[in-house]
Symmetry: none
Subunit: 420 residues, 2 copies
């Protein structure tokens, strides 16, 4: 196993002003993880020579792979190469091949019109470095080793940084890594994070490699299994029994392994079953339809939806019996069932889901508390309704209500009890 | 201007694995900037006591405001409070008021069903600290001063972190700041970023304080006016003429000042006019309905929507003439108009918008290119249609098509030409 320790230093005042998030550090970290190299720190500093130097000296004392992003451009506040060379006792030298590439870039892109001479400052590179070609911009990157520390410098613009890391830095770093890290995400809906953790805790702390880590995620949970190994096949063999054990403990609340979302799982299940669905939404206001149609190919299973925010729309469009609403109110088990049945009929779909509830901030004329939500599934075998209390946070009420609608479809199509 | 130096330390292995970007540091930095406080460093460390301690000791040596995010939860790998207390020589004490809030949160949210006892670990707080209430989760935050260094601890989940910073940390920090930075956002839709920049460029570079900065934002633009001043009133007086000048240059493409979104602007305009709307969505698949109902109080103006993904739904639910679809196809100016007119009739709303288009990745039977979208507005005075080419990126096609629908409502209600 590799024992290298890496630190990413991102240079840019715009990061410290909060104009952008540090997606370079995220993207590089994810790729380092694939390489099996440990990233222990991210540091962000502004375009300031003195503070960058101090940050580099701290990094030298605790890491042996230092990756910088940003500050390679042609303007006066781009100083990463100068500062790093000073810290590591290297000279900057003019590189004619790099200069020619910069000229070619402008020739290709702008027909030579507007290349200002300061662009050639980017052709000064640390003596004896490995030059990283920039496939989407002008500033080349580079790498060198000095006193056992590997220094890699990448440009700041996210597309340039990501492409250069993938094409040049990964091959450079691969020789430092023995093996890699692989992981799987077990996606879970229907139990809370602390609940999941109680169930898994003893098993979790007993593991080191593979490891098991719980995450909360917008009203659902996931649990990540990660293995460090020499090869992917070895890692998979190590992870399989752990995933099996998690399946035994969490069972029906697991909706998928490595799927993007519960709606994506539903789309696949519906396709496999050759079935279609539609929806009738009140409190989720279009969110269910929006989430399924976010996925390319949704039209294969989704016939459409009605957002019926008023009683008249529930009656007029979905054919809900006015007497049901009068007797039980719009937010009720009975109305939810009638809405799902109405959508199924109107859209001629095999299944239909519905939501009716009080997303807040105010309650309705029934006086039921905010967070009261009914979610229904209508199928050829009948209609089920879940009665839920989803709290007082409006975005969360809507998100979790939509999760429930998809979860009912998932459970129906996998032969599990649909009601909770 | 204040001379304090702040550092943000974000704690979380998921950041070092590249699972998520450090949006907490971005959001806090942006709000620090509003306060006129300088952030000089961001540091990210994993859930590791020793490395966190080392990072805190470095931060103590170079900053006098240390803000941590993450590691306040109830699980064994949440250790931020313990480590920070050790670094600053404080004891952790059980806080009964904080414990009661956590119990109340579970009572409210889950009727006490499933609060596991480990949640009460979150009620241990540094002795003598200022407690920060968590409005969207369970873990309280806190702040204390020790040896001239201010330490603030905030939870990691972005919504909790952002809300707590705004509601509790900002008031705490405001007294450290002399003067501050204030800004306004001019929200713009209908011209591209480079176009906006061409129009504003000469004026923009002539300004220093207030300054003017352009941003691109998911198919729309904004331009931020920022002033540094001793008081808010002074800042406002400095910004007013700049905003006036931008209004003269960008004119009808400006949809609002400091509004959250174009749909929020529409909600207000519809309320002011005492009018309602509905929608009929094909390629946007529920996104328009979802966006308006994201806003509390939408039911005052929104009657409902139909997501008609199939021709049968367009005909059956909206009453679109089958002959129109047969002659002109589903993605056409004529179908868009008929969908909007149908929605207006079916939902009995004053206005209605519709979308029909090819979001991709594949085209439809008409063979029109991906990105072809028609957006219509039906009103008592007649129907307008915009014919658009929105490119090949599916999420962007959907987002921008929805922007156009709201923009047509905005232009109608402000007496501007509705077609582009």
């Amino acid at each position: 196993m590799s024992q290298h320790i890496a630190e990413i230093i991102s240079v840019g005042t715009e990061l410290l002003l909060g104009n952008v998030a540090n997606t370079d550090a995220r993207d590089i970290s994810a790729m380092m993880s694939q390489l099996g190299l440990n990233v222990y720190y991210h540091t962000v500093v502004g375009d300031n020579d003195e503070r960058l130097e101090a940050a580099v000296n701290i990094a030298k004392s605790r890491a042996d792979v230092i990756i910088t992003t940003g500050g390679l451009g042609p303007t006066y506040d781009d100083m990463t190469k100068q500062t790093l060379c000073r810290c590591f006792g290297r000279e900057l030298k003019y590189d004619e091949a790099a200069a020619q590439e910069i000229r070619n870039y402008f020739a290709r892109r702008f027909h030579n019109h507007n290349m200002s001479e300061n662009n050639l400052l980017q052709a000064y590179l640390p003596e004896g470095c490995t030059v990283f070609h920039n496939t989407c911009g002008t500033a080349p990157g580079c790498a060198f080793e000095e006193g056992g520390v590997h220094v890699l410098m990448l440009p700041g613009p996210p597309r340039e940084c990501e492409a250069m890391f993938r094409l040049s830095a990964m091959p450079y770093l691969r020789r430092l890594s023995e093996g890699g890290i692989w992981s799987h995400n077990v996606r879970i809906f229907g139990i809370g994070e602390s609940n999941m953790e109680n169930i898994l805790h003893d098993y979790m702390v007993s593991l080191t490699n593979p490891s098991l880590a719980p995450y909360a995620k917008e009203g659902e949970c996931l649990c990540r299994v990660t293995a460090k190994a020499g090869t992917e096949a070895e890692a998979e063999e190590m992870m399989a029994p752990v995933i099996g054990r998690v399946r035994e403990m969490i069972r029906d609340f697991i909706y998928g392994l490595d799927v993007e979302s519960i709606e994506e799982r539903c789309l696949q299940l519906l396709k496999d079953a050759g079935m279609t669905f539609s929806c009738a939404e009140s409190c989720t206001g279009g969110l269910i339809a929006k989430r399924i149609t976010d996925i390319p190919g949704a039209s294969a299973v989704f016939k459409g939806g009605a957002v019926t925010y008023t009683n008249e729309a529930k009656i007029g469009i979905l054919g809900v019996d006015a007497g049901i609403i009068k007797e039980h109110f719009a937010v009720s088990r009975q109305t939810a069932a009638a809405m799902a049945e109405g959508a199924r009929r109107v859209f001629s779909s095999d299944l239909a889901v519905s939501t009716t509830g009080i997303a807040g901030p105010d309650t309705d004329e029934s006086g039921k508390p905010v967070g009261t939500v009914f979610v229904a599934l209508s199928s050829p075998e009948g209609t089920w309704v879940r009665s839920l209390d989803l709290g007082t946070d409006r975005p969360r009420v809507r998100t979790v209500a939509a999760h429930h609608a998809f979860d009912m479809i998932r459970r129906y199509l996998t032969g599990l009890p649909v009601e909770l």
